[in-house]
Symmetry: C2
Subunit: 439 residues, 2 copies
């Protein structure tokens, strides 16, 4: 197989996934979950970060008055750390959809850390696997395993590292900021997730506790839930204008929840495009922000798929839907399944009183249609037993497309010799010299 | 020509179009309009009915107080006479889209008369010509001659009766109500257009003059202008979901103005359907009214085109639009226009440093794409000079439709022998026994 070599190249030059992980020992996920071992299946660190800490925050909020300055700062910091994930982790590092200068990279690594969703390196590796193996067992957060699984089930439950598809992250291993953030992840999280937002409110207006609870813990919870929606909601709700083979979907609700990552059908089809929304009226603040950074000289090389390619994708998907629709409609008996009738037999049957009309070499039974004919009974009746090709196609009236469609549902046979038969036959009768072709 | 006989059948068994009309003398429209003969080109009867009388009504309205009862009655009578045209003249008599009992027919002939738009017989004859010869010179109110012409220009200016397409109106000549109304047209107009609405307000609440001006003259003006929109606006504003060869269009504004006749693209395609709007949420009070008459036993045999035929028309129109779009996009150089390259030449050129990748027998130049490849530089580079058919199609990654499209824009040549060449060549090199097919 020619694919052997690239398969090798696809192997990540990855550091061990966990200090404790020993590939020779069977992994806990290979054992069925029982009443005795269920707690071993749970990823307690993640449960703490995603569920217990927010729960503490919600309870503590009852005893913590919310100052409006703190509220504003919490929302601002929500957007900043959210952008750390969407513009940083996702569009910059996982997809290299643009290039960032070092100051911007440091900012994004810090903000993304403050969202408490793992290191860039870990996040981007999983995300690349998600794109490459979408909806398969190798997809770390496959929506095929349930909406809740794709939302956070995949973090709450321990995962077998062998299961998740391999991807090339050599570019990330070459990025010193990514490597530094990975090595110093815990420090980053505590500093940017809790200490920094708390210092702002504390030094700014003396609200240490409010900063900790609202701009820290609860803000983390909201950022997490919002960005998790990209893996759940974006694979579950909406349209599929570019491809319907897999689960990604476009929806404005997802976009509103995820700082613009809601045009996910587009994104899976054109992953290295720095945009998720391609129309100006769609909500994609992450795109807008990247664009502003470009104007400020902080970002460059913003990648865009050509409009031509995007339109091709949209067109093919529309074509696919049209073809599916076409299959459900009745287009009349296919010509090759119709019996072949001789001209004389056709004429004779029509004279016998059967309402047959030949158009373009095909015989139609119009019995049930005569009284419904929009052009009146007289005209349609006058064509019975004749070759009506010319009169149907403009000789008397140039019938619409709809009339042609309707006609094809009335097919009962094909004329031996095709549509010119009547003229030939008559010529033959009148002038025996004319050569007559018959099959 | 086989069409000779039906052409004859299509001749209307028509009464002379006007007492004064003599087909042997040249018609006024055959002479160019000059400063001396312009007034002969004007149809003064119509100008009086359509413009002068309403003008008088508008002026008289300044001296005529509007009572609210009279206003309500004017609106009610507007709808009744409007339905006389849409449900009567148009859908019943011009298109036979349903059958009406005698009482309903008498009601519709009276109401339609009250709208002052000509007799049923005259109106339906022109309307059938409009459908049969839409947009051509034989169309009595072709929009191709201008929006204003199609609105009322065709009535204001004298028309050459020879120009207007012939249609079969034998069914109308067999209808005693139609014939009676045609013979007694002036009486009908004066009775139903002016006297009757005036009697209602006069005997009802003593407002003789208000009834005459508002429920009579001005109401006539509004009904006329509204129904004229079917010939102008409906051929000018909106979408063409079923056929775009001719001018008819669908638009909700036209529907609102015309008691539901605004789905005119549908109507021209399916003229004998008693509906103009096919969706429940579209505005078609004429359809609703006919349906109610059916429930009351006043109308029966409501004709509908099969949903299958309607969907076929819609689908074909969508297909047509898609095909037009397809033509505007770049799909790469067609295979038959590409040079044929030998496998060895391909391998050699790739070794020489040109970034060529063969997929499915076609050679692609990916030079400009390597750094943009969403799957990374390493993977795509590894395929240079190889047959990448299998790795591109799932061996490493099952590329999306978008990737296939993009690939086709990079075509530079076709491999002699097709896509299996590499395997065959290798087999040949390794085992000289294998038979090798070359063209
Ligand atoms: C053989 C089967 C026929 C079918 C299925 C058929 C179908 C139709 C349909 C659906 C229309 C509505 C307008 C349109 O869709 O274009 C129509 C109109 C018409 N048909 Fe036919 N037709 C048939 C045969 C004929 C023949 C043989 C003649 C003439 C000899 C004829 C003359 C007309 C005319 C003059 C109209 C125009 C009516 C109008 O728009 O006012 N048709 N026909
Ligand atoms: C020959 C020209 C190639 C083109 C035009 C191309 C194009 C693309 C495109 C457009 C994508 C984005 C996802 C998608 O649309 O499916 C993609 C992703 C990918 N490509 Fe290629 N590719 C090429 C060659 C290759 C080769 C030779 C390999 C492997 C040896 C490869 C491996 C991948 C992988 C693994 C991804 C997944 C990246 C992800 O979704 O994270 N590609 N490619
Ligand atoms: Fe996704
Ligand atoms: Fe992504
Ligand atoms: Fe029309
Ligand atoms: Fe019509």
């Amino acid at each position: 197989m020619a694919s052997a070599a690239p398969q090798q190249a696809a192997q990540p030059a990855s550091a061990p996934r966990s200090k404790k992980y020993d590939p020779t020992k069977p992994h806990i996920t290979e054992q069925p979950m029982t009443i005795h071992n269920w707690y071993k299946h749970i990823n307690w660190i993640n449960v703490t970060l995603i569920l217990f800490v927010p729960l503490y925050g919600i309870i503590a909020a009852f005893w913590t008055p919310l100052q409006w300055k703190t509220a504003v700062w919490a929302v601002v910091y929500y957007f900043m750390t959210g952008l750390g994930i969407t513009a940083g982790y996702h569009r910059l590092w996982a997809h290299s959809s643009y290039t960032a200068t070092t100051p911007l990279k440091i900012f994004l690594a810090a903000m993304g850390g403050g969202a408490v969703e793992g290191s860039i390196r870990w996040w981007a590796r999983d995300h690349r696997a998600h794109h490459r193996y979408t909806d398969t067992d190798k997809d770390p957060y496959s929506v095929r395993k349930g909406l809740l699984y794709s939302h956070f089930g995949w973090m709450v439950m321990k995962q077998n590292p062998k299961r998740i598809g391999r991807t090339d992250i050599s570019d990330l291993n070459d990025d010193p900021i990514v490597v530094w953030q990975h090595r110093n992840y815990l420090k980053t999280v505590i500093t940017m997730g809790l200490i920094f937002p708390c210092i702002v409110t504390g030094l700014g207006w003396g609200d240490w506790k409010g900063g900790f609870i609202y701009a820290g813990i609860l803000r983390i919870f909201f950022v997490q839930q919002a960005t998790f929606c990209v893996n759940s909601l974006a694979h579950w709700l909406g349209d599929q204008p570019f491809d319907d083979r897999n689960s990604p979907r476009d929806h404005v609700i997802t976009a509103l929840a995820t700082l613009g990552e809601g045009y996910h059908n587009f994104h899976h089809e054109f992953p290295s495009d720095y945009r998720n929304a391609i129309e100006w009226h769609q909500y994609d603040p992450t795109k807008w922000t990247i664009w502003i950074w470009k104007q400020l000289g902080l970002a460059y090389d913003l990648k865009q798929f050509k409009q031509n390619e995007i339109e091709k994708g949209r067109l093919q998907q529309l074509q696919k839907k049209l073809d599916q629709k076409r299959q459900q409609l009745d287009w009349g008996i296919p010509l090759e399944q119709l019996p072949i009738i001789d001209w004389d037999a056709y004429e004779a049957e029509a004279k016998d009183g059967r309402a047959l009309i030949a158009v373009a070499g095909v015989v139609h039974d119009v019995t049930d249609f005569i009284k419904e004919h929009p052009g009146g009974k007289a005209l349609i009746t006058s064509a019975i037993g004749k070759d009506a090709t010319a009169i149907f196609n403009g000789g008397v009236y140039n019938h619409s497309n709809a009339a042609h469609n309707l006609l094809s549902t009335m097919r009962v046979g094909v004329l031996r010799g095709g549509c010119e038969v009547e003229i030939w036959k008559r010529a033959q009768r009148e002038n025996k010299d004319i050569s007559f072709v018959s099959d």
